[in-house]
């Protein structure tokens, strides 16, 4: 178990040693986002922008315009929220080579409460043209994704979490932007998941197996561009799709899959996520249960969707 933000900090520092074009920016949260690991090793290539996210985004765009590869980090709510229009105008519109790696996404921010729990960031980043959106499942995927993001030329939004999450992928896992992974094979229905919900789906699939239900698990580490082939295959082969994400059901993974399938292969669907409401204070595991973001919910939804399938 490792937090995706820790995997990021470690990998960014490694990349810094390999490529001196890599620079990092933060807005007074480098200890939490883990850009502090990079900052300690490469102080001259680290820019603390203070509590001023709009300027941080523009500064990153300027650094990219002179050939640097900037990674900018803060909490998801501030990166995507406060920086949205700057990201649109100064980063995405010119296709600037800026990497926005937002930590503390979703409700597992915990005790800080609804003000700090971003459940909209994937939706608003996904709506911007030229933007790539990545939500890794675990530490291993994060390490591989950060390397892929550094090698890719163009704007990327990566959403990471605060807490330790179970490993879904083995050490040495590789990541290709835009390609999902079939984690568990199955024929009755498919869980299409992202972020920490993939581990929950794997657990759910194992438990459903005991009931004689064969659930497939498809992890989409990239929300945009969508791995259409993998989604279409799951819809055609299993005929029932349950999406799950630690995010609003509006505009995120569930939205992306629903949009695509509605036009290309209308399929029985259920979106598991946060139903158009704000977060609240609590412990991370309590909140996951409170919002129904766990294996138990997925099992119930699987039974429910199969009853509709017949």
């Amino acid at each position: 178990m490792i937090a995706t933000r820790d995997a990021y900090g470690e990998t960014l520092a490694e990349l810094g040693a390999e490529n001196d074009k890599i620079v990092a920016l933060d807005a007074d949260l480098s200890g939490s986002t883990k850009t502090g690991v990079f900052a300690k090793k490469f102080p001259e290539r680290f820019f603390n922008c203070g509590i001023a996210e709009a300027n941080m985004v523009g500064t990153a765009a300027g650094l990219a315009a002179v050939g640097k590869i900037p990674f900018l980090s803060t909490f998801a709510i501030f990166a995507a929220g406060r920086g949205w229009e700057q990201i649109r105008q100064s980063v995405a519109y010119p296709k600037a080579n800026v990497k926005i790696v937002a930590t503390h996404g979703g409700v597992t921010v915990g005790e800080d409460g609804g003000s700090h729990q971003s459940v909209e960031d994937v939706a608003i980043m996904r709506a911007i043209p030229n933007m790539t959106v990545i939500v890794p499942a675990d530490g291993e995927e994060t390490k591989a994704a950060i390397r892929a993001v550094a090698a890719y030329k163009g704007p990327v939004y990566v959403r990471l979490g605060r807490n330790k999450v179970p490993n879904v992928f083995p050490a040495g896992h590789t990541f290709e932007i835009g390609k999902g992974n079939q984690v568990v094979d199955g024929t009755d229905l498919t869980f299409i998941t992202t972020g920490l919900m993939t581990a929950a789906a794997v657990t759910a699939a194992e438990k459903l197996k005991a009931e004689g239900i064969s659930a497939r698990v498809v992890h989409l580490g990239t929300i945009k561009p969508l791995d259409k082939e993998l989604v279409l295959q799951a819809a055609e082969e299993t005929g029932a799709i349950i999406t799950a994400e630690e995010h609003s059901v509006v505009g995120g993974l569930g939205g992306a899959v629903a949009e695509f399938l509605a036009e290309n292969c209308p399929t029985l669907m259920k979106r598991v996520g946060v139903y158009d409401r704000f977060g609240t204070s609590g412990k991370a595991d309590e909140l996951l249960k409170y919002f129904g973001l766990n294996a138990e919910t997925l099992i119930e939804e699987a039974r429910e969707i199969l009853s509709r399938k017949k």
Partner: protein
């Protein structure tokens, strides 16, 4: 030097003619703010900046950011005059399929390094460029032109704070203080107050000039370059619509172009009779 100044003044006059003709043709775009900024843009491109129109991506170039992106016509006529692209392209300003977008777009226009248009963002980008160039140990400088109305955007002051914090002395901001914005006088819409004092308070080196006095512009740009340890703000008092009395000091000409009746008089004001 006197000859050089006269040469730049003549160049600026021709650029004003090009702005008027371009905007008359496009019948869409920002007249007043282009005419107020053009003397400074002219001095930058034909006196101060190291750049190569034959190689727009030349590594040794200084960088320019038109933060008040709506003054794009001022930038476009200057780039065309310098030879970045044919002058005929100007006649396609704002047309579907043209590389000359309503606001500067680095994806299509040779010589444009960043996208601007949404106000308040250019100084952040300029400072990012300045930081990157310094990191590489390069001597190149970065220039950003901002409007005075634009200073109402909070991000400008975030950037002002950051540029002073990082001692970006390779950065120079030019404030085109024409005192007007869309809804009227800046002072009335939302008073930005003493601009020079504000930049000084943020730790900048500040030079106040008449933004239409070519000698003063050149002297200020030279002084900015030699100032070490802090970025420089050149606060330039300008006249919106400068050079054409029909447009001067009129908020109405912020986003209005010369019509057929105004064109001959406008060109006459600029000593153009063809």
């Amino acid at each position: 030097m006197k000859e050089k100044i006269a040469e730049l003044e003549e160049k600026a006059r021709r650029l004003r003619v090009a702005i008027v003709k371009t905007l008359h043709k496009s019948q869409s775009g920002h007249t007043g703010g282009s005419l107020s900024a053009i003397d400074m843009v002219c001095a930058l491109y034909f006196h101060k900046m190291r750049h190569n129109p034959q190689d727009p991506a030349w590594d040794g170039r200084d960088r320019f950011v038109l933060s008040k992106g709506h003054a794009a016509p001022a930038l476009y006529v200057t780039l065309a005059e310098a030879g970045y692209f044919p002058a005929e392209d100007l006649m396609m300003l704002r047309r579907l399929g043209s590389h000359l977008q309503g606001h500067p777009d680095s994806k299509g226009t040779p010589g444009v390094d960043v996208c601007t248009g949404s106000l308040g963002q250019g100084l952040s980008m300029a400072n990012g460029m300045a930081l990157g160039l310094k990191l590489e140990g390069k001597p190149n400088r970065v220039y950003a032109v901002l409007g005075d109305g634009e200073l109402q955007e909070g991000q400008v002051w975030e950037a002002a704070m950051a540029a002073a914090h990082y001692k970006s002395d390779n950065l120079c901001a030019l404030i085109d203080s024409n005192r007007l914005q869309i809804d009227g006088f800046v002072e009335k819409v939302m008073n930005v107050g003493d601009i020079a004092a504000k930049f000084r308070a943020f730790g900048w080196n500040v030079i106040e000039i008449d933004g239409h006095d070519m000698g003063a512009i050149v002297a200020a740009l030279d002084a900015a370059e030699s100032h070490k340890g802090a970025p420089t703000a050149i606060v330039a008092a300008t006249v919106k619509g400068k050079g054409v009395h029909l447009f001067e000091n009129k908020a109405a000409y912020h986003g209005v172009t010369p019509n057929d009746q105004e064109l001959p008089e406008a060109l006459k004001c600029l000593g153009c009779f063809d």
